[in-house]
């Protein structure tokens, strides 16, 4: 579990800190996604791992070696940039073979490896073409091939799918995952799209304002987020806040709710619940009161419903298409105790 170790990395630009004492440990087969909004530091962290930005303090270890003082050329990482940065004056095969040429691989062997790389990314036979002739998706594959052919310990990807339309993005996500599994290498992928993160990652690292909010597998991060920020970033939720009246209980506008986390009596605390876990069929163990539907938006497989209680509490929940919800309808809401997540 220590193929990539980031130890207490801080990066300062003048007085402001892009990274604040960040630590992370990643395994050799992991698909890591650094997830967060702009300014969260995820791109800076990627840049520090890749050797493009030296940290103000802290160390980076890759495959057991301290690489903190090594530049990108000698570091065992390669990067797929956001705009791919494919060399415009070279053909596809020259682009892909560039790293091999630098490593003095003889021409015949180079050609073999390039052909294999093209096959691997699904671009067989496109070697002679120039970058200008390729579509966005094709360019992405060339960038991947170019970065993977030199067999890096870690492949870094900086928002690689941002420039693609939705369908192409979904397709490329599948291909990226397949590629990572096939090559068995560690990928570190930066994105602001939480759906993309959940689709790809074996480890999601949620970042905000230069520090790590939460890190873990997608299912855990989504269902049981460690912080409020993580909860909100990973998806919609309904929040219930109130003072702690007894150990494990908080008093909220909808009544007393269980909260499975340590907190001092009298302190303000919050639990959240995901929209799919709020039930309107009266089956849940914990009662959440009554609410009137304010808005119901059809989303295809479900309705996204906003309901308000008399005391002002807003609920975000989902209802099946068969329920045909309309504004003004009254709902009786409940949930299971285990669905209330302390943040």
């Amino acid at each position: 579990m220590s193929h990539l170790v980031v130890s207490n990395v801080t990066k300062l630009y003048g007085a402001s800190a892009a990274l604040k004492d960040v630590s992370l440990s990643v395994g050799g087969q992991d698909y890591v996604v650094l997830l967060g909004p702009s300014g969260s530091g995820k791109t800076t962290l990627l840049s520090v791992i890749g050797g493009f930005t030296p940290p103000s303090s802290g160390r980076i270890h890759i495959a057991g070696h301290d690489v903190t003082d090594i530049g990108p050329a000698k570091r065992p990482t390669t990067t797929v940039f956001q705009d791919y940065a494919l060399f415009p004056h070279m053909s596809v095969e020259k682009n892909i073979g560039y790293g091999l040429k630098l490593r003095r691989v003889p021409a015949v062997k180079r050609a073999e490896q390039v052909t294999r790389a093209l096959d691997m990314v699904g671009l067989s036979g496109a070697g002679r073409r120039f970058i200008q002739e390729l579509s966005g998706g094709q360019r992405q594959r060339v960038a991947l091939a170019r970065a993977l052919i030199v067999e890096p310990e870690i492949l870094l990807l900086d928002e690689p799918l941002g420039a693609l339309d939705l369908n192409l993005r979904r397709q490329m996500q599948d291909e990226l995952l397949a590629l990572q599994r096939r090559t068995g290498r560690c990928f570190v992928h930066v994105t602001h799209d939480q759906e993309e993160a959940m689709a790809l990652a074996s480890l999601i690292v949620v970042m905000n304002q230069g520090h790590i909010e939460d890190a873990g597998p997608p299912s855990r991060i989504y269902a049981r987020p460690a912080t409020r920020f993580t909860a909100n970033f990973m998806g919609e939720s309904t929040e219930f806040s109130g003072p702690v009246t007894a150990p494990g209980i908080i008093s909220t506008p909808v009544g007393k709710l269980p909260r499975a986390a340590a907190a001092e009596t009298g302190m303000e605390a919050t639990v959240i619940i995901r929209p799919e876990n709020i039930r309107a069929d009266g089956g849940g163990a914990v009662a959440l009161g009554m609410a009137r539907i304010a808005e119901a938006v059809f989303q295809g497989a479900h309705y996204r419903v906003f309901a308000t209680a008399e005391n002002g509490q807003v609920f975000k929940l989902r209802l099946p298409p068969a329920a045909a919800p309309k504004p003004g309808d009254s709902l009786t809401l409940s949930c299971g105790a285990e669905d209330l997540v302390p943040v």
């Binding site: 890749g50 493009f52 530049g71 990108p72 050329a73 000698k74 990482t77 390669t78 990067t79 940039f81 705009d83 940065a85 494919l86 060399f87 415009p88 004056h89 560039y98 790293g99 630098l102 490593r103 170019r146 970065a147 030199v150």
Partner: protein, 282 residues
Amino acid sequence: MKIPKPPAGFLFALPALAWIGLFFLVPVLIMAGYSLHPLTDAGTPGPLSAADYAAFFAEPAYVQAAIDSIITTLVVTIASTLLAYPFAWCIVFAVPKRFQRIALIAAILPFWTSYVVRSYAWLLALSPVGAVNKALLALHIVSHPLMFAYNPQATEFGFVHFFLMLNTLTIYASLAQINPRYELAARDLGASALRGFLTITLPLSLPGVAVGAFLTIVLCIGDYVTPQILGGFRELLLPQLIMMQIQRQLDLPMASAMSLLLTVLVALAYLALQRWLRVARL
């Protein structure tokens, strides 16, 4: 039958095209016509004949002038490109971003002055009583003034001064718009700084180099002022020859023929540089 309306865009471009047609293409054609009617002994244009062209190639002094023009232009182009490239490179990559514009503006400031004035200024600096010689004498590097001016080297020197600035500008424009990510990607894949420059930045900057070189060739080969002021009169260049035909011999047909031959040389240069010029955005 309905007369088709000309496309509106064409109408907008018409004044410019008409101007070039009327005041550039037509005069050149008239010149071509003149060149084919060499002067008779009476001093008037004679019958249709290519005699002037033949006379040009038959006269060793004329051919020598053409060769000297070509050699001077090549030397100047190569020298200014070799000097300008590192200069432009420094402005783009060695100067902090916020000083780059000032550095560039300063580098080409003396560009914006008439070449008559500039050549005169060099004459001042290089003449036997000029600043350079006086400085050398004062520092006891030489014991008597050296003949820097009034020779072909002075002409080349004056040219290189001007074209250094021009090429710095075109090469700067080319280098500045190269996406810095390209070199970054090359380094990421393992290239050293030098390797990255040679394989990525240099090839991508060649269109700018080509544009500068072409402009240098065009302006240098047709320049009359610099060799006339700085060159002395032992070795004449083609433009000086042409001027002599106009002023001394009053032989416009011969001058026309020579000017067209000069243009042919420029066209040859264009063909040689075509591959990179097409890539450059002008």
